[in-house]
């Protein structure tokens, strides 16, 4: 699977904690509802898997990211046991749902070396939160944020969703200003995706396609509001405080930046994905199979995907164009349809730059609004 040459090089670690109090209708992540009794054995398994893969990791990790599920729903003692078993990293992020963040949890996380929290607020409108089947109300979102601040977290990200069934433009504006009022270092704003097969799509799919036209401008609205408030639109769906407001810190999500820059990463846990030296592997999403295998000292069942050079270039193109930094042409040129590139340039969606690193590509502001279509067009 992995070659000796890769040993000790991977600088990004993802850890999946699948447990949730309940499953929100729109969610299609690998989650496990309840099962408090399993948390301990799962954390054992995580630590076991980490032991198996440890040789892949660099001695000084750049980032560690605990995602879910709801990592903060995990039994507090078990979470602490896990955090102390994980290697240190310069950026250590934990995803949190507002209703699980108490003053104690915030302090615990901080004391265990976590220095960044991504808070799944989604909305501040009670009605919309109900549609999303979120348990936290707007007040819980705000108090969670302040608990984190009180625990001296200096890098907090807030997740917002837009395009929620029934959401009016003024609802969106209110959500944005409430989020801005908290002064987060980072914001992730996602358009709600009605993923096929989810309960949510079954219930709201028709309404979502009805309102699709009306909500077409929401993305522009989000970008306009946040950039006007001093945030940098550094990735399609991600914003961080600009340099002048960040006191010189680079507040981009360094872990996710690793993905977008095409770096290798190790993922451990249920359904976790790793990409190392051109091999992508996905752990089984079945809790029992995962725990059984790892407890017995074996790697969990995995799906493998070999990424040849061509596929890697395409992914570099796809991921790189999500960022506001120019994408160096070197290494991605073979993935680009030159005729399409010319067309996209004429339409003012793409521009070529010649910086110090060599010729590069950048999407224009409007090109970024159409980033998916432009990328599809550019793919050779």
């Amino acid at each position: 699977m992995t070659t000796a040459a890769a040993a000790g090089r991977v600088r990004h670690l993802y850890v999946h904690l699948p447990f949730c109090a309940h499953r929100c209708g729109y969610c299609d992540f690998v989650t496990v509802v309840g099962r408090r009794g399993s948390h301990g054995s799962y954390v054992d398994a995580l630590i076991g898997e980490l032991g198996l893969e440890r040789n892949l990791l660099a001695p000084d990790l750049e980032t560690v990211f605990l995602g879910g599920g709801t990592p903060t729903f995990t039994d507090a003692q078990e979470l602490e046991r896990l955090l102390s078993a994980l290697p240190a990293g310069r950026e250590v992020t934990v995803e949190a749902n507002p209703e699980t963040v108490t003053a104690a949890v915030a302090k615990q996380l901080r004391s265990c070396g976590v220095n960044r929290v991504s808070l799944g607020a989604q909305s501040f409108q009670p009605e919309l939160l109900r549609v999303l089947e979120r348990r936290a109300g707007p007040d819980a979102v705000r108090s969670a944020f302040y608990y984190l601040r009180d625990a001296s977290f200096e890098n907090i990200s807030v997740d917002l969703l837009y395009g929620i069934p029934g959401q009016s433009p003024s609802d969106l504006d209110r959500d944005l200003s409430e989020a801005l009022a908290l002064g987060p270092e980072h914001l992730s704003c996602y358009e709600l995706e009605a993923k096929p097969g989810t309960r949510f799509t079954y219930r709201h799919g028709a309404e979502l396609s009805r309102q699709a036209d009306a909500m077409e401008t929401y993305f522009e609205r989000v970008v306009a509001t946040l950039t006007a408030s001093g945030y940098r639109w550094y990735e399609t769906a991600n914003f961080c405080l600009g340099p002048d407001r960040a006191g010189g810190r680079d507040l981009r999500a360094r872990h996710n930046l690793g993905y977008w820059l095409g770096r290798d990463y190790l993922g451990i846990g249920l359904g976790a994905v790793s990409t190392i030296e051109g091999v992508r592997r996905r752990n089984t999403p079945r809790l029992q199979a995962y725990v059984t295998a790892v407890t017995a000292g074996a790697p969990p069942p995995r799906e493998l995907e070999l990424l040849d050079g061509h596929v890697r270039s395409r992914e570099r193109l796809m991921l790189g164009l999500r960022l506001d930094d120019p994408l160096l042409l070197e290494g991605v040129a073979s993935a680009i349809d030159r005729t399409a590139l010319g067309r996209m340039e004429r339409l003012g969606l793409v521009c070529q730059t010649g910086g110090s690193g060599g010729p590069a590509l950048m999407l224009t502001r409007r090109g970024r609004m159409l980033g998916g279509a432009v990328t599809a067009e550019l793919l050779a």
Partner: protein, 595 residues
């Protein structure tokens, strides 16, 4: 065989009125073929014919009955092949006019019956399917007698299915139909009433010898086209090929010509012997010209060579099919094909798809226009995109349509014909319930979904037939479509001036629905010359992004984009605009139920 012992006849009948079943019974009854070895309905040999219940290529079968040689000449049953039908009828002295006892007369039967009467054939009226519970033989017999001007008592009543009354038909053929009266001593003349192509033996001519006789290995010549060949084999069908050394005056049979090109032998031409050629050809030869045209394009442009080969091979057995290469900026390389009519077009398309396994895109059918340019040049235009700009006058083909409907549908049918620029000619009650309507209609108005509309407005009860009535001047204009400012040749259409605005408007509205939104505004315009008559705008997309993309779903997101790209490749590029192929069919379906 002496001519007085020969009878040549055909059967005129509507589809499904039992012509093939009757032919089978005749073969059985005359011991030409035993019931067991007989495939059901021997005469229809092509799969397609069997499925569609129509006979495309005529064949002739010889049977013996009470010392007489009877030649049954099968005629194609559809309007597109009127000329072929008329040649087949010319080879006969009589015809059975076969009508379903339950259905009564249909427009097509009527048209062919008139054709038989014009050819001075002796008509033997027959009512079939008298065994059916809903049969009304008396009323059908009365209609038939009325039509041909005889007594209902002379009308034979049979069931081809059970065999009841079929012997009576054979006797009536001998008694009522005259024997041929050619001159056995004169220089040889034979009418070519059909031909087919055999992969191994080349072109086979079906002939009716009128004067003199023909022998194997003789040098022969066609009088109109001047094609020369040696008769490799002579014979007749009974029902399989039976070689014979001579074909005599009055007889019907086949000639294997050894020719490799079916277009060298035209239906209606006269065959004569080189050694002692006839002075005059038989009357009635016509060069049949295709009247309906459409572009055929492979859905996958890589299939162009396959389409070309398939057309070449089809042409071997179908002399009436014409085609020439066509390049459309929107659809790529293909062929503009000419057909005798809509059914012919359907048959060709189905054969290409079925026998040659091709996926085709067929443009909206159009007709042959005769155009006089301002420069005084006369051109025939088969493709709206090629319509010249400076036009003095355009003539378009007209048809005489006969439509038979139950009387309660006369109103809707007249309304349809009026909508289609029809001119009312004549109306007649064939019986208390059934009405014959005659209209003159521009063929262009008929080629697009007229038949479907007729059927839907009469709940399937109308029967329809037409023949060509010549060309007339029309106030016609070319409507061009521009997508993103670029004219799209494949979407041009020719319309009557009064209907041009409505057609143009419909078309651009339809295209707005069919073309997905792009990354920029796309105007869609319909224009006559430089004058825009209708416009719609497809507004640019304002966002198109994958909401999130992290380590766990890179593969899935990449595949999404790759699929999106593959989808784009299937589209046709018009300037910068991506147009799905379906949009090009929008012209075809313009009228679909909306008119």
């Amino acid at each position: 065989m002496p001519q007085d012992l020969i009878r040549n006849f055909s059967i005129v009948a509507h589809i499904d009125h039992g012509k093939s079943t009757l032919a089978d019974r005749v073969l059985e009854l005359t011991d030409t073929v035993s019931g067991r070895e007989m495939r059901e309905q021997v005469l229809d040999s092509m799969d397609l014919e069997r499925e569609r219940g129509i006979t495309i290529k005529a064949q002739a079968v010889r049977v013996l009955w009470k010392g007489h040689q009877l030649n049954l000449i099968d005629t194609p049953g559809h309007v597109d092949f009127t000329y072929e039908v008329s040649r087949a009828l010319q080879a006969c002295e009589g015809a059975l006019l076969l009508v379903d006892a339950a259905q009564g007369l249909e427009a097509q039967t009527l048209a062919n019956a008139y054709l038989a009467i014009e050819n001075e054939l002796e008509i033997v009226p027959v009512v079939n399917k008298i065994d059916l519970p809903q049969a009304d033989p008396d009323s059908a017999a009365a209609d038939l007698a009325e039509l041909i001007g005889g007594s209902p008592d002379d009308v034979l009543r049979i069931s081809a299915k059970t065999g009841e009354g079929v012997e009576g038909i054979l006797d009536a053929i001998v008694e009522r139909i005259p024997a041929p009266v050619g001159d056995p001593e004169a220089p040889a003349r034979a009418l070519i009433f059909d031909s087919s192509y055999d992969q191994y033996r080349g072109v086979v001519a079906f002939v009716r010898v009128v004067d003199g006789s023909f022998g194997t290995r003789e040098r022969l010549r066609t009088m109109a086209l001047g094609t020369r060949f040696e008769a490799e084999e002579l014979g007749f069908f009974s029902p399989t090929m039976s070689p014979t050394s001579r074909l005599e005056a009055g007889e019907v049979g086949y000639v294997i010509t050894g020719l490799k090109d079916v277009s060298k032998l035209r239906v209606g031409d006269t065959l004569t012997a080189e050694a002692q050629p006839a002075a005059e050809p038989l009357p009635g030869y016509k060069d049949v010209k295709p009247m309906v045209f459409a572009g055929l394009f492979p859905t996958d442009s890589d299939d162009y060579p396959e389409l070309r080969d398939a057309l070449e091979r089809l042409k071997l057995s179908d002399a009436s099919l014409v085609y020439e290469p066509e390049t459309s900026q929107a659809l790529g390389f293909g062929f503009r094909c000419g057909f005798l009519g809509l059914l012919h077009m359907e048959i060709v398309r189905e054969r290409l798809e079925r026998e040659f396994d091709l996926d085709l895109l067929v443009t909206a059918p159009t007709v042959a226009y005769r155009v006089l340019t301002k420069a005084g040049e006369e051109v025939e235009v088969h493709n709206p995109a090629e319509m010249p700009n400076e036009i003095e006058q355009i003539e378009e083909p007209y048809i005489r349509a006969s439509i038979i409907v139950p009387r309660e549908y006369v109103g809707p049918v007249m309304e349809l014909c009026n909508d289609r620029r029809g001119t009312f000619d004549h109306m007649e009650y064939l019986s208390e319930e059934r009405v014959l309507l005659l209209y003159e209609l521009p063929l262009a108005e008929v080629v697009i979904d007229f038949y479907d509309q007729l059927k839907s407005r009469t709940r399937g009860y109308a029967s329809f037939d037409y023949d060509l009535a010549g060309f007339s001047e029309g106030a016609l204009v070319r409507v061009d479509v521009l997508i993103g400012g670029e004219p799209v040749d494949a979407l041009s259409l020719i319309a009557h001036r009064d209907g041009a605005y409505a057609r143009g408007k419909q078309l651009v509205e339809r295209l707005r629905e069919e073309i997905p939104r792009q990354m920029f505004d796309v105007p869609i315009q319909a224009a006559i010359g430089s004058r825009v008559i209708a416009r719609e705008t497809i507004k640019a997309k304002r966002k198109d992004v994958l909401a999130k993309c992290y380590g766990g779903d890179i593969t899935r997101k990449r595949k999404l984009l790759e699929r999106q790209k593959a989808g784009k490749k299937r589209m046709k590029q018009v300037g910068a605009v991506e147009v799905p192929q379906e949009a090009f069919l929008a012209v075809l379906n313009l009228d679909g139920g909306k008119r």
